[in-house]
């Protein structure tokens, strides 16, 4: 069982920098998700931990021991690869058995047999053991490669987008399985994905990676409710968060946000005010999750902002409604059965208390009023 | 393991071979055997794959590497190997040693191989030999000598080649051996060897100096004079006599084209781009025309192949080939010339007299029994007939580590006994020893070959090596052959080409280093 730490790790391939000064601390038994878009350096990060890639700078420690110069086979890590990386010339059984036959983790054949069958049963592939990888479906291959990792008890599981190649239904099911597997395996797991739902639903903590740099490390709630940067805010949540630039309008004691040319309705929450004051900001960026924007078709200019329907995409249970106001597009959630012709006037109410505030210059998180996702920091 | 593998292949084959060929359907027979062959090969291939690794890089010692004289004939080496202290000679004194011999593909070589068992029995020396066709023989020999690693210990060579090998210190001079009574058998009798022939292997290494001077570099095995060997059937078919002059030869040869159906022709002569093309018929005619290859002018060799006589005779020779020679003359080595004569393709061969024996001996060829011998055609009226001669000799590698054993080999196969055996039982013609020419069996034998002895007697006095000794012999004669080809194939006319040749040759001989 291991806690794993990366300190200022930089990995270059030729001129291209895959990891740039990455520092992470992963606690023992933690289910740690590394999230990021394609090419963010997620896989490289795993390879560095596994010892497949050797960083130019920085150190990797396991249980406080620096392991940079330790070969992969001696790190006692198990890895599930994005493309499964099964041994094409070996049967499923032999694939799963291979770690236990290696000089490093050798077990008696009898033990191997029972171990493999045990794991295969868990993964419900025990009826495939004699087949070759080429005779399996993607889902099955994925399970085999998973089995190859689970068959032994390593310091840490490394999983590189294990679900990406599966169809939506299977992916859901597997996600659930992972969760409880992790629960009763209680081994450190580092899980790479580009799917924010996977990240949020599986991770104890999530590290958001972008172009080789860490954007933020935090619990799913931190990430979702207090995204460190606009990048993080945009990456999590579907439809995407609405980010609007707002000027600060001081009217006596009250402060208002000037959103989309409307400066009457949006009072700056008290807690946020202090921060803004401290930083002496003239403008801020305000993020509204689509679900935090209410709408109505009955004119209520007093409390609401006037806009026009731009587009309407029903998605079965719900629908994404895009409205058009002050030269900006605003996405919000609406019931699928809504009657929304384009250009129909619509009135929006932004729930400022749920809004997320960013520094307009640095695009970094300032503050948030809402109580959701635990105590705010202010 | 290799040996027992050989066995298996051989048995496999003999089985196939033994199989009676029921049906005459070519293809089916062929198919069946081809199939067997394939199967056999696959099997053997596997066999070898396994054995290949274990057989190291043991050079020639591999049974496959060189075809060694039948093993069972060589009995266990005698105990005493060092030469005895006193001066007495003993054939067994180097028993147990093994020598390598490089042979040219030639009846002389066959005679040697045939008698190896006797030699090995007599001396207890083991002989490993390999045979190479003449086309590559001297290239291979030169490279082997250049290795200076003592392999081969003994080799066949022509006298001409000695002019190159001796200055390069490739060959051992032999007088010292001849003088040593503990090395040379008392009954070897050097004087029995025709002086004219033996002198062909003597030279003092000074370019331009004649043979017969200086030390002895090799011992003659046999020698060839260049004459006309003709097919009596052919001549009778047009009621002709052997031609006396070169012009007659041309005219007659032309008449004889097609004498024996498709592809048959008048006169066979060599034509490859090789030194060997020059020395037989061509050089004989060349010398009889009074031309010389070189003259020494103020101490320098100067080519004379562009002299008027030289150009004239070259023209004539080209004419002969064009009018009466084989269509693909430039492919002709003495092998082709000889076998064409034997197969009734060629009516006449202007080449070695021994063709008459090789092809004429009973059962040796289709035309055996029809072959006659006549002196080479004269070029000028009334001149005395003579020919260029070629001497096959055996010489000793200067780098040999078993010179004494090698010397025994040379003695044995140039000695009276073998020479006589070769001349009477095999085709070692012409024998180099006077004693043989007096031997009744021998005389009886050559009597079988019409005109052979007379021809020999007629020309022997004027027969000698017509080339001027010099170490660039190969260059000059190869260039010469190339020129001859150009002239015959009409690529260029004799005049200009021979002048060009002279220039090239002079360039070559200028580069002779004499230190």
């Amino acid at each position: 069982m291991a806690d794993i730490a990366l300190k200022q790790v930089t990995k270059k391939y030729k001129q291209h920098t895959a990891l740039n000064g990455v520092s992470i601390d992963i606690k023992d038994k933690e289910f740690f998700v590394i999230f990021g878009p394609a090419g963010a350096g997620k896989t490289t990060l795993l390879n560095v931990i596994a010892g497949i890639a050797v960083p130019e700078e920085g150190v990797v420690t396991m249980n406080g021991k620096v392991v940079n110069s330790i070969e992969p086979e001696d790190r006692n890590v198990a890895m599930v690869f994005e493309n499964y990386a099964l041994y094409p010339h070996m049967s499923v059984f032999d694939n799963i058995a291979s770690p236990l036959r290696s000089p490093r983790y050798r077990q008696p054949e009898s033990k191997i047999k029972e171990e493999v069958h045990r794991v295969a049963k868990i993964l419900r592939i025990d009826w495939l053991l004699q087949r070759l990888p080429s005779e399996l479906s993607n889902g099955q291959r994925q399970r085999v490669s998973l089995g190859r990792a689970l068959v032994r008890s390593p310091e840490v599981f490394l999983m590189d987008e294990p679900l990406t190649h599966l169809d939506a239904k299977l992916r859901h099911q597997m996600r659930a399985e992972f969760k409880e597997m992790q629960a009763n395996l209680n081994t450190t797991t580092i899980y790479v994905t580009h799917d924010y739902l996977e990240a949020l639903s599986l991770g104890d903590r999530i590290a958001v990676l972008n172009e080789g740099r860490i954007e933020q490390i935090g619990t799913p709630d931190d990430i979702y409710y207090r995204p460190a940067t606009e990048f993080v805010a945009e990456a999590f949540g579907e439809p995407e968060i609405n980010l609007l630039t707002a000027g600060i309008v001081r009217k006596g004691g009250e402060w208002y946000l000037n959103l989309l040319g409307d400066s009457d309705h949006f009072t700056v929450p008290r807690q946020v005010k202090s921060v803004i004051e401290e930083l002496q900001l003239e403008n801020v960026r305000v993020g509204f999750r689509p679900k935090d924007i209410k709408y109505s078709f009955t004119d209520d200019s007093a409390s609401m902002l006037r806009a026009a329907v731009y587009s309407f995409e029903p998605l079965g249970s719900k629908a994404i409604l895009t409205a058009h106001a002050g030269g900006q597009l605003i996405r919000l959630i609406a019931p699928a059965d809504l009657e929304a012709r384009p250009d129909r006037p619509i009135y929006l109410k932004f729930n400022v208390d749920e809004a997320i505030f960013f520094d307009e210059r640095t695009r970094r998180f300032i503050a948030r009023a809402g109580e959701k996702g635990g105590r705010f920091v202010g | 393991m290799a040996a027992q593998y050989l066995g298996s292949v051989y048995n496999g084959w003999s089985k196939i071979v033994a199989k009676p060929q029921r049906d005459n359907g070519v293809s089916s027979v062929k198919k069946r055997y081809a199939m067997k062959t394939i199967v056999l090969l696959v099997v053997t291939a596997l066999l070898v794959f396994t054995s290949a690794c274990s057989s190291g890089k043991s050079g020639g010692s591999e049974p496959g590497a060189t075809a060694s004289g039948s093993p069972e004939s060589s009995q266990a080496p005698g105990s005493e190997s060092a030469s005895p202290a006193n001066g007495s000679f003993d054939w067994k004194q180097y028993s147990g040693q093994e020598i390598d011999v490089l042979l040219n593909q030639h009846p002389y070589a066959e005679a040697i191989i045939a008698r190896l068992p006797e030699f090995e029995k007599l001396t207890g020396i083991k002989v490993k030999y390999s045979i190479t066709p003449e086309e590559n023989y001297f290239d291979k020999l030169t490279t082997a000598l250049n290795a200076r690693n003592g392999n081969p210990d003994v080799f066949m060579t022509g006298s001409y080649q000695l002019w190159e090998y001796a200055p390069a210190e490739y060959v051992q001079e032999l007088d010292s051996f001849l003088k040593d009574p503990s090395k040379t058998s008392p009954d070897y009798d050097l004087n029995d060897i025709y002086k004219g022939i033996l002198d062909g292997d003597r030279w003092d290494l000074v370019p331009g100096h004649p043979v017969g001077t200086g030390s002895l570099w090799a011992l003659p095995l046999g020698f060839e004079t260049n004459v006309l060997v003709y097919n009596k059937r052919a001549l009778d078919s047009i009621g002709a006599q052997p031609p006396k002059t070169f012009d007659e030869l041309i005219a007659l040869g032309e008449k004889l084209n097609g004498w024996n159906g498709d592809g048959s022709y008048g006169v066979a002569v060599r034509g490859t781009r090789s030194w060997a093309t020059i020395h037989p018929g061509y050089m004989t005619a060349f010398s009889m025309s009074g031309a010389k290859d070189f003259e020494i002018q103020d101490g320098k060799l100067v080519s004379k192949v562009d002299s008027p006589e030289a150009i004239e005779i070259t023209k004539k020779f080209a004419e002969l080939v064009k009018k009466a020679g084989p269509k693909d003359w430039t492919n002709y080595t003495w092998y082709q010339a000889s076998s064409d004569l034997g197969a009734g393709k060629a009516a006449i061969a202007f080449d070695a007299d021994i063709f008459a024996i090789f092809q004429g001996s009973k059962g040796a060829s289709k035309e055996a029994g029809n072959l006659g011998t006549a002196p080479p055609p004269i070029v000028k009226e009334g001149q005395a007939v003579g020919a260029n001669e070629w001497i096959w000799s055996i010489a000793m590698n200067n780098a040999s580590k078993k010179k004494d054993a090698a010397w025994l080999f040379m003695q044995y196969f140039t000695g009276k006994e073998h020479t006589l055996w070769g001349a009477t039982q095999a085709s070692v013609f012409n024998p180099i020893r006077a004693s043989v020419w007096e031997n009744p069996d021998f005389l009886k034998r050559i009597a079988e070959f019409p005109g052979y002895e007379d021809t020999f007697k007629a020309i022997i006095d004027n027969t000698s090596i017509k080339f001027t000794p010099q170490p660039e012999f190969f260059n000059t004669t190869t260039e010469w052959a190339a020129a001859l080809q150009d002239i015959v194939t009409g690529k260029s006319d004799a005049e200009t080409r021979m002048k060009q040749l002279a220039k090239d040759i002079n360039k070559r001989v200028e580069r002779i280093r004499t230190e």
């Binding site: 890895m79 983790y105 | 593998y5 055997y33 020639g60 086309e135």
Partner: protein, 273 residues
């Protein structure tokens, strides 16, 4: 592709047959007269009494078998050395990147194009000095010029086809890099290896110049030996044909074995088969 009217079809087949005749008849003829007795050689063409005489003569002295064996020894030896040396090299060229990689790869390839005589002339002297002249090993070494480029260039392609992830999986599973190489990579490239080996075997087997000039009477190979059958006091065309047939057979068989990989092999992996 193209139009399919009966006439053009006929024409195409005719052309094809014509080429087939050109390509195959010589082989047929060679086999044919290998069964023809020298007696009939000069006066018959197709119709004759088939005989195994020529083969009998060929194998009666173990001379020819010797040449054949020599050929096998040097060819097999050369290929084995190339495998031992070339497989790791091919792997390195496929997997790692390091300075001058492509130049190195090209150097290997350029061996295939090196004028044989240029190598032979100096090598001839060196060999004679260090005693490699006319030895199996001497030939095996120089044959690397032929077989090594094949092995390296063909296998490099096969290695590149294997996903690095598979190797990483092996490492993580607890195998050291060379165990991974032996247990996982090698089995995966086996077909390629076999093809490359056989193909380079064929071309080594066929080589003439090296064998002619770097070996003396010690190591004569069939290609060199076959020359001697045109020269003898009577030319033995039949025996020559038989010799040629025997020495050509292994190649044809091997060729049939490796059809699938032929393209990749012949283009030395420059073109994926």
């Amino acid at each position: 592709m193209g139009n399919t009217n009966p006439f053009s079809k006929l024409l195409k087949n005719a052309a094809l047959l014509l080429y087939a005749l050109f390509a195959l008849f010589p082989l047929f003829w060679m086999i044919l007269i290998s069964f023809k007795h020298d007696r009939e050689m000069f006066n018959t063409v197709f119709l004759f009494h088939p005989t195994l005489e020529n083969y009998k003569v060929l194998f009666s002295s173990n001379e020819y078998i010797g040449y054949f064996l020599n050929n096998v020894y040097v060819s097999v030896g050369a290929v084995l050395v190339s495998i031992v040396v070339g497989v790791p090299a091919a792997y390195a060229l496929a997997r790692f990147d390091f300075k001058g990689k492509e130049n190195l790869a090209f150097t290997f390839l350029s061996f295939r194009f090196a004028p044989e005589l240029l190598v032979i002339l100096p090598l001839f002297l060196i060999y004679q000095k260090i005693g490699l002249y006319d030895t199996y090993f001497g030939l095996i070494w120089v044959y690397q010029l032929i077989s090594l480029p094949f092995i390296i260039w063909i296998l490099r392609g096969y290695f590149e086809d294997i996903s690095p992830e598979v190797e990483h999986a092996g490492r993580v599973d607890g195998y050291s890099w060379w165990r991974v190489f032996l247990k996982i990579i090698m089995p995966l490239i086996k077909p390629g290896l076999v093809a490359a080996a056989l193909l380079s075997f064929i071309f080594v087997w066929n080589n003439f110049t090296f064998a002619l000039l770097l070996a003396g009477q010690g190591v004569i190979t069939t290609t060199v030996a076959s020359l001697k059958y045109i020269s003898s006091d009577t030319v033995h065309y039949g025996q020559m044909a038989a010799a040629v047939t025997i020495s050509a057979l292994p190649e044809v068989i091997l060729a049939l074995l490796i059809q699938k990989h032929l393209v990749r092999g012949l283009s030395m992996g420059a073109v994926k088969g």
